[in-house]
Amino acid sequence: MSGRFTLVAGGAASGKSEFAERLILESGPLPRCYIATMEIFDEECRARVARHRAMRATKGFSTVECPVDLPGALVPPGGAVLLECMTNLAANELFSPNGAGSPEAAGTSILAGVEKILSASARLVIVTGEVFSGGNRYAGDTDTYLRLLARVNRALAARADEVCEVVCGLPVWYKRESEGAV
């Protein structure tokens, strides 16, 4: 099996999460799984996570916490999976003590994890951040992070059946189902 895969990109507060969730809800009565990538540091994080879990439970999502090591995430076979957000996962893999460490290892782990989920799922939607249009003078860790995230985004876009950038809640399609890549 290799599920249909949509990459949803967008800036902060662009409406990308809601749009991505809609794609999953429209995919029919499949077991729904949300892969959450936020690292939980304190009580405030825990409260936030609990609230989000409860909100999604009403929509039939189970939640898998996966701040690092995407290949280790267990998803329901034949399900519809929503992974949010690649910006967190990439940062955690680079900078968390439990992360892969190097950008090479981080990219390898993330892309292997995506392949593994695709092979087990009927539907996959990945949310990623568009953080690349605000300047080009970055250095050190920030530049390393941006290069990793950009490389992962490009690889996911090449692999995906559909790619869009969400602007004000509306999708701008760069690739659509049944269209060949240019």
């Binding site: 080009n136 490389r151 490009r154 876009a157 790619v163």
Partner: protein, 112 residues
Amino acid sequence: MIFVTGPLYSGKRAWARKLLGCSEQGLPARAVWDVQELAADAPDLPALADRLARYEVVIATEVGAGVVPADPAERAAREAAGRLACLLAARADRVVRVFCGLPLALKGELPR
């Protein structure tokens, strides 16, 4: 001239190489990139755009979508980069935005 724009590290140059069917070594003869860097010090932006438009492909990174920089020189550079991009788009036969390696036509058709 084809004007190629898009976010940082979005695969603009790789896409241009594919379009022109040329190697990284062959690219400088046919394309010019990072032209947003030329804007800040240009005394005459339309003249710069005219000169750049002689290339087959002109590539600029979008730099204007973040918070307004506190530093006046950075503010001016960002402003000039945006204005240069508009001048180039006006001179171009086609304008393409490359996003995550994928092209979207903003002016004209995507080249086949």
